[in-house]
Amino acid sequence: MKYATTMIVGAGIALLAAGLFMPGWLTFLLTLAFAKGLVVMGLLLLMRAGLVSFGQGLYYCLGAYCVGIAGDYFETQNALLLLLLAIVVCVALAAVIGLLLCRYRDIFFAMFSMAFSMILYGVLVKSSAFGSSDGFNVKPPLLFGWTPTGESGPFLAYGLAVVALVGVGIFVWRYLRSPMGYAGEAVRENEIRVEYLGASVRRIIYTKYLLAAAMAGLGGGITALAAGHIDPEMAYWTTSGEFVFIALMGGVGHAAGPVIGAVLFELLRTYAFQISPYTWQMILGIALLVIILYLPKGVWSLVERVTKGKPL
């Protein structure tokens, strides 16, 4: 346990150090990838309980809009405060929607979660105060009164993303080994047994749903700070689909799966777009197909195979 924590913190420090020497475009790409990794780590909690949400875009978008709107309204650029607000608002909304969703399973859970994200999309597209379908620009973040300029511009958001990734990574790593983490597998395997052991299946799903919302909100908030622009597309169902795509690609067997998946996804997308701007989606699709066929447990399983026997 201590070993894993040290490893994750070590990886975080290495990433931060590497960030100082990275070209700006790579810093930016990794920031967006890490933000998505955060969202997908939340999705992982649900997927391990047998629930696929096709609506994490709801909280991803909501988190981003919280940061954008609150930044404007309260005239603050304090990154930590804005991100905290994004998390709180997302959890509050999830606390309401979750009451309904925790009654549904399978395709119904997936479709209901998608429906809620599409509602937000619909509302935002019609809200001219927030730029309708064009969205609006978000002011650059401040951390303890410091904002980087010029060359080191993208570094602040990158740093925030890495720190969030380390924090959430440690949490998820430990969570998966906790009674609540195991309870997710249990719910997927046999709900009747869970109830007869004395735990409420709905409460377990509800808890996971709230956690996933918090992580998605954080990811969305970081994306807003990094990109400097947000639009309703973040709540569109294709964005939520992307998260599921990343989860499948990276694998949900380990907390690192979503992060690896997200980085791979962003790299693939960037290169695929450069190679063939009109059919890049096809390249992504083929990549996913290959992964599902040869690595059904995601790219992470490759790492596990190599390090088999070693605790990670």
């Binding site: 346990m1 009674p179 249990a186 395997e189 009747i192 007869y196 735990a199």
Partner: protein, 260 residues
């Protein structure tokens, strides 16, 4: 009388099907009650109602004098009534050890912890002890789907016993188990039960098993209690012979074939 469990005119329909009609059963502390009845007689329905899985259409269920109708399985189980299942209810893709660890994890915490590890040395040791009590330690690392029926049944019962119930309801504990292994399985279960002092109601088709382990016998037929009393008395009952045991004991295969 120290009645632990008492049902009064308990009934349940599924649409036009009457699965249980007017069931009055009393179980006292320390009793080992066998239940027989042909397929569809309402035995499982009875257990489902008592443990809060199915709501009765009408009637009353009293546990230590207090009504438990309307309580869910979690509440019933916490109150002291636990059950096993006709088809073992386990986590099939997980190992035996993980099954037990999860059970302990849920049992020990009213609110499940998010950060503290489940598979600690102490918890694993405790799980090993439980498996040892039921003689299935050697299967610890195996996935449930690969287990023989008997082991699944034992694990299912072991999980039901975790809460130290005052009443244990066993739904066909030996179904799917080879005849030669039935007694060994029941011996193991009864040893654990005796140690805990729980009263037992067990559904069983095998008359030899009934005769060996029960102190009292109830015969179900068509959602009703046909006979209830000492084992020999119920087995000797003419109606029971005609309607219940006749189907199981002296199966006249030729006649069955003719009828089919």
């Amino acid at each position: 009388m120290n009645a632990l469990l008492e049902t009064r005119s308990l009934a349940r329909n599924f649409g036009a099907v009457t699965a249980a009609a007017d069931i009055d059963v009393t179980i006292n502390a320390g009793e080992i009650v066998g239940v027989i009845g042909s397929n569809g007689a309402g035995k499982t329905t009875f257990i489902n109602m008592v443990t809060g899985y199915l709501a009765p259409s009408s009637g009353e269920i009293l546990f230590k004098g207090k009504s438990i109708v309307g309580k869910n399985p979690r509440q019933v189980m916490r109150a002291g009534i636990c059950r096993s299942f006709q088809v073992a209810q386990l986590f099939p893709e997980l190992t035996v050890l993980d099954n037990v660890l999860i059970a302990y994890g849920i049992m020990k915490h009213k609110i499940l912890p998010l950060m503290s590890p489940l598979a600690t040395k102490a918890n694993i040791q405790q799980a090993e002890q439980l498996l040892e009590e039921y003689g299935i330690t050697s299967y610890m690392a195996e996935t449930v789907v690969t287990l023989p029926q008997g082991v699944r049944k034992l694990l299912d019962i072991a999980l039901a016993m975790l809460r130290k119930p005052e009443i244990l309801l066993l739904d066909e504990p030996t179904s799917g188990v080879a005849i030669d292994d039935k007694f060994e399985l029941m011996d193991t279960v009864m040893r654990a039960v005796r140690k805990s002092g729980a009263a037992v109601l067990f559904v069983e088709h095998d008359m030899e098993v009934i005769a060996r382990y029960s102190t009292r016998l109830i015969a179900f037929y068509d959602g009703r209690v046909l006979a209830d009393g000492a084992v020999s008395e119920v087995m000797g009952d003419e109606k029971v012979k005609e309607l219940v045991t006749g189907h199981h004991l002296d199966i006249d295969y030729e006649r069955e074939v003719e009828h089919a």
